[in-house]
């Protein structure tokens, strides 16, 4: 059975996790990085964090929260058999605009490589894979309906198909992010987890981000 072992989330001013019920406030993404490092949610500084686009920053921080929620550790030199699946509404539209406007403002003669690398929808997942050492499948998928539920179902299918043993599924944009750690149920573990099926059923038709977090918290309470 596939279960969800950890969930991390970020809004414009707050961050938290569902199972361990961590919660905090932040002012900007630089301070979010500092808070998470101070609380040992981020085990070490994210290299070049200041250069990342906003979606990559949100992606990496929400994954750190979800891994911490699942009790999964990582280190600079450790690689994991974990895949990463990302989704959002707009792909990398904001980064595309930032890169091309900069190029045009330079007289269409020279582009900035540091902006260009963020013009792929999969780049935030790639930044996360490098930092956390995820060596499994990496892809961005845009779903037309029930985005988060569809993402979870897709990630679960990848585990069932034997593509990897663990999937990190993250929806992130410049303003909000939610990340789930999926894996096979470990019957010997005493750590709390939520059934993938229950989570998908609960949030299937909900698009409001705050309501999804509320429903996930309710689901956990029912489990306890």
């Amino acid at each position: 059975m596939i279960v969800i072992k950890g969930i991390g989330w970020i809004t414009l001013t707050e961050y938290g996790s569902i199972i361990k019920k961590l919660q905090g406030n932040y002012t900007d993404l630089k301070s979010l990085h500092s808070h998470l490092q101070h609380e040992s949610v981020l085990k070490y500084a994210i290299k070049n964090f200041g250069r990342f686009d906003a979606a990559s920053k949100m992606t990496c921080c929400s994954i750190a929260l979800a891994l911490n929620d699942a009790g999964i550790t990582y280190s600079e030199h450790m690689k994991h058999d974990a895949g990463i699946l990302g989704t959002n509404n707009d792909g990398c539209l904001e980064s595309n605009l930032a890169y091309f406007k900069d190029y045009v403002s330079c007289g269409r003669t020279i582009a900035r490589g540091n902006l260009f690398i963020y013009t792929l929808p999969s780049t935030p997942m790639a930044e996360a894979a490098i930092y956390f050492g995820f060596q499994g499948p990496l892809l961005y998928v845009k779903f037309q309906v029930n985005q988060i539920a569809s993402m979870l179902r897709f990630a679960g299918k990848m585990i069932l198909c034997g593509e990897t043993s663990k999937m990190i599924a993250v929806e992130a944009n410049e303003e909000k992010a939610v990340c789930f750690v999926l894996g096979n149920k470990d019957n010997t573990s005493t750590v709390k987890s939520l059934s993938l099926e229950d989570v998908v059923d609960t949030i299937e038709k909900i698009s409001d981000f705050d309501k999804i977090l509320m429903m996930l918290n309710r689901l956990l309470r029912e489990l306890v």
């Binding site: 792909g91 190029y103 269409r108 999969s122 780049t123 790639a126 961005y140 299918k157």
Partner: protein, 377 residues
């Protein structure tokens, strides 16, 4: 219980060699490149003035380049596409020329360049009834999309999935690759000792996959089977591959295992072969590790077609099926002085082979690797 097989029942492509699979296959066998002087936008400031584009497409007006490729291609094949096919669109930048026009002269809405808007257009073009998805994973986008499509069929989730792949040569992408110093000043020369970068290319194509039972029920011609795949990440660097090829090694080994074949079953291999120093070197190291003394013939089509980015994987799978069914390893176009480390693997001449299994690999930005095992139908 017998495992459900995912088979390819229809496919088509448009490349810088022209319309259709035959034009691409014959172009490759002619050993002539489709890379040439680019006149879509000013290129004087960039590393090169060369790229491979589909002849006859006008840039910067009306519809995007990818729609100009996809509309005739899909209309021509509409009768083979069932209404209930699930659609997967694979692309890196899709209709990025629309965003260019928004920034340059405000003549379009930037939001219309988002890939899911293109997905909606393709659903309409093909008259498909169910919602689809967009898959994007840098230069492995469409090979990963094909793997996921096969997974949907094998798991019983769908019995018919259509993968559409496309990317175009745009100022947006050209300027970016130039800034990364990734373009060869002349033309891409995969596995050549004088290689110095890639050449950009463009293509669009589709693969229609079905469960074997449905294909037989509908009397569909079976082109071949997507027998297995392996997806991995280097977790190493944003724009460069891991030097030892370890990520690609893992992907190939996973693919062989999932297809239940050994490296000795493989008749030839379609490499990513971009023509960059580090990519090609990494690939040869990976091949040495996986295949050892079994010197399987290897080729890259990118010296002919250019690097078609998100479309590359699908295009290369189509060519790999052609190769498998014709028993010919295509030549690596633009290979003049083969690199020492690649000399026992690649050839500038076509070769014959006799095997029923081949493999196609792609690697890309962010360290993605994908290997797909193909079998005769």
């Amino acid at each position: 219980m017998t495992k459900t097989k995912a088979v390819v029942v229809a496919c088509d492509v448009v490349t810088p060699y022209g319309w259709g699979i035959d034009s691409c296959w014959n172009g490759l066998l002619s050993k002539k490149t489709a890379i040439g002087r680019l006149d879509r936008f000013p290129t004087e400031s960039f590393l090169t003035q060369n790229a491979a584009v589909v002849p006859g497409l006008t840039y910067g007006q009306d519809e995007s380049i990818v729609i100009k490729m996809l509309t005739p291609l899909l209309q021509k094949n509409i009768s083979s596409i069932p209404e209930d096919a699930f659609l997967i669109l694979a692309t890196t930048t899709g209709e990025i020329d629309k965003l260019e026009r928004h920034v340059l002269n405000d003549s379009t809405d930037a939001a219309s360049s988002r890939p899911h808007k293109l997905l909606e257009k393709i659903l309409l073009l093909c008259g498909l009834s169910s919602p689809g998805i967009v898959v994007s994973a840098a230069c492995a986008s469409s090979s990963i999309a094909v793997a996921q499509a096969a997974g949907m069929i094998i798991s019983g989730e769908n019995n018919c999935v259509m993968v559409v792949a496309c990317d175009s040569v745009s100022e947006f992408v050209f300027a970016g690759f130039s800034s990364l110093m990734a373009l060869d000043k002349d033309m891409a020369k995969p596995f050549d000792r004088d290689r110095n970068g890639l050449s950009l290319g463009e293509a669009s194509g589709f693969l229609l996959l079905m469960s074997k039972s449905r294909a037989l029920r509908e009397n569909r011609p079976v082109i071949g089977e997507i027998a297995g795949w392996g997806l991995t990440n280097d977790a190493n660097h944003m724009t460069g591959p891991s030097r030892d090829g370890s990520g690609l090694v893992m992907a190939i080994r996973k693919a062989l295992k999932s297809a239940n074949v050994s490296e000795n079953d493989i008749g030839c291999l379609s490499a990513h072969g971009t023509g960059t120093i580090y990519n090609d070197s990494m690939e040869i190291k990976a091949l040495e590790t996986v295949f050892g003394n079994h010197k399987v013939p290897v080729y890259s089509i990118k010296g002919g077609t250019g690097h078609t980015l998100g479309a590359a994987g699908l295009l290369e799978i189509i060519i790999a099926f052609e190769s498998l069914n014709k028993k010919i390893v295509p030549p690596t176009v633009n290979l003049c002085n083969v690199d020492n480390e690649a000399s026992v693997w690649v050839s500038s001449e076509p070769l014959t082979f006799d095997a029923s299994v081949t493999i196609s690999t792609n690697s890309g930005f962010g360290g993605v690797n994908c290997a797909v095992v193909l079998k005769k139908g």
